[in-house]
């Protein structure tokens, strides 16, 4: 079947089988940041943005992307590197397998929540599981990253 959609800002026309999941389809198209973790809709590794909202690509038919804007970490390299530095500084990264889904959900959170508290951050990211850590380093890195972004925004506004 035909599928027309935006992938990381590029409009594409593709052929896809009716039962192909978005996760498999995106990986076929070279988006290897999108990982398959649990396949039971629980771990959040396969998180991508669909029209700006985080969704589980393992649980969605590729055909449901028709006319939508899909963004994977390949489309947010610069932003991911910026946040990745905070993760590294806080020693939050261990195996790193959960990072792409985790980072995509942080970008979604940034869009949805204004100045979130630590409690709100933890609630928003509850669907991203990390089996290496206890989320302490990640939480520290998010708080520092959000503070950095806030300061940067304020400085830009003052200029």
């Amino acid at each position: 079947m035909n599928l027309s959609f935006w992938l990381n800002g590029v409009y594409r026309h593709e052929e896809v089988e009716p039962d192909t999941m978005l996760l498999d389809f995106l990986r076929e198209k070279g988006c290897y940041s999108v990982k398959c973790g649990c396949e039971t809709s629980n771990c959040g590794l396969c998180t991508v943005l669909m029209d700006g909202k985080p969704v589980l690509s393992c649980s969605m038919l590729a055909l449901r992307a028709e006319g939508k804007k899909i963004v994977t970490m390949e489309g947010m390299q610069k932003e991911a590197e910026e946040f990745g530095a905070f993760l590294a500084d806080e020693g939050a990264e261990q195996c790193g397998f959960c990072n792409p889904g985790f980072i995509m959900n942080i970008f979604a959170m940034e869009n949805e929540l204004e100045d979130p508290t630590e409690e709100e951050i933890k609630e928003y990211l509850a669907g991203n599981l990390c089996r290496c850590s206890g989320f302490v380093g990640q939480t520290r890195s998010i708080l520092k990253y959000l503070e950095y972004k806030k300061t940067k925004k304020r400085e830009e506004a003052e200029e």
Binding site: M1, P18, D19, M21, T40, S41, N42, G44, T47, M50, K53, P54, V55, L56, C58, S59, M60, L61, L63, R64, E66, N105, A108, M109, E123, Y124, L125, A126, G127, N128
Partner: protein
């Protein structure tokens, strides 16, 4: 594994209904549960092009389109205020935001899943379902109906004055609940719903009128009514065992959550 032979994004509910009369056809909701099973689907029917993904607030009711996602419900300020936060409380523990951006209210209600937090809370309100063929049916009746090939178009919540509390017990955050409990006063009418028994959520009938006149009771009377009704609920709600908890644990939880919920609704602080 889920196998789909053909996929149709329908242009009308009538088209969806016609396609759905074939037993091997299937209407797609959020697909979260559907994709977990082994199933061969001849025609996957997608309603996502019909604009049924919004919450409409009318003068006397909310009309929630079947394709509205759980996260859209969760962040709906009007529904949050109407349910005094109970709707958000029933949704926020369901896995993660990404999951709730996929799962739909239609899928959750039509599936009548035993584990459903959503069904438990909606049963505690003056809720109706709008079915394409059968028309509007009270949700409490719908949960008892045999599953058929009709199509749920919308969930309707009447704006009958409501006070409600939602509680659930989970072994771990984001897991399925071991037990869910919603209590409400719809107008002056008390209602208690227990779900994840692990069977489908059910309304607990107050046959002995323990809660009759609850709003008029003194704090002491409310405490006593909550205690007596929770014991009654624990004795009368059928519960069973599964990998998340034994029937005996669920019986104890039924009593505790019911009592806590009624005490909280009655404004009794411990």
């Amino acid at each position: 594994m889920l196998k789909i032979k053909s996929y149709v994004k329908v242009n009308s509910i009538a088209e969806a209904y016609e396609l759905n009369q074939k037993k091997s056809a299937c209407v797609l909701g959020g697909m979260i549960w559907l994709k977990m099973g082994n199933r061969n689907v001849s025609t996957a029917i997608d309603l996502s092009g019909l604009g049924l993904d919004t919450v409409q607030e009318l003068e006397d009711e909310y009309v929630i389109g079947c394709m509205t996602t759980l996260h859209d419900l969760e962040i709906n300020k009007s529904l949050d205020a109407f349910t005094q936060g109970a709707l958000r409380e029933s949704l926020r523990h369901i896995v993660g935001v990404q999951f709730r951006n996929c799962a739909t209210v239609g899928g959750s209600i039509f599936g009548r899943y035993g584990f459903s937090d959503v069904l438990t809370l909606f049963l505690a309100m003056d809720t109706w379902v709008d079915l394409y063929q059968a028309g509007r049916v009270p949700l409490a009746e719908f949960v008892k109906m045999k599953k058929d090939r009709d199509i749920l178009q919308a969930v309707i919540v009447k704006k009958t004055p409501l006070k409600t509390i939602y509680l659930s017990q989970r072994n771990t955050e984001t897991d399925f609940p071991v037990l869910t409990c919603a209590v409400s006063l719809i107008g002056e009418q008390p209602r208690t719903v227990i779900g994840a028994r692990p069977g489908c959520a059910m309304v607990v009938e107050d046959k002995e009128d323990f809660l009759y006149g609850f709003t008029e009771m003194s704090k002491k009377e409310k405490t006593e009514a909550a205690r007596r009704f929770s014991e009654y609920a624990a004795e009368n709600v059928p519960v069973g065992s599964n990998m998340r908890g034994s029937g005996e644990y669920r019986r104890l939880l039924t009593e505790v959550l019911t009592r806590r919920a009624w005490e909280t609704l009655g404004g009794i602080e411990k």
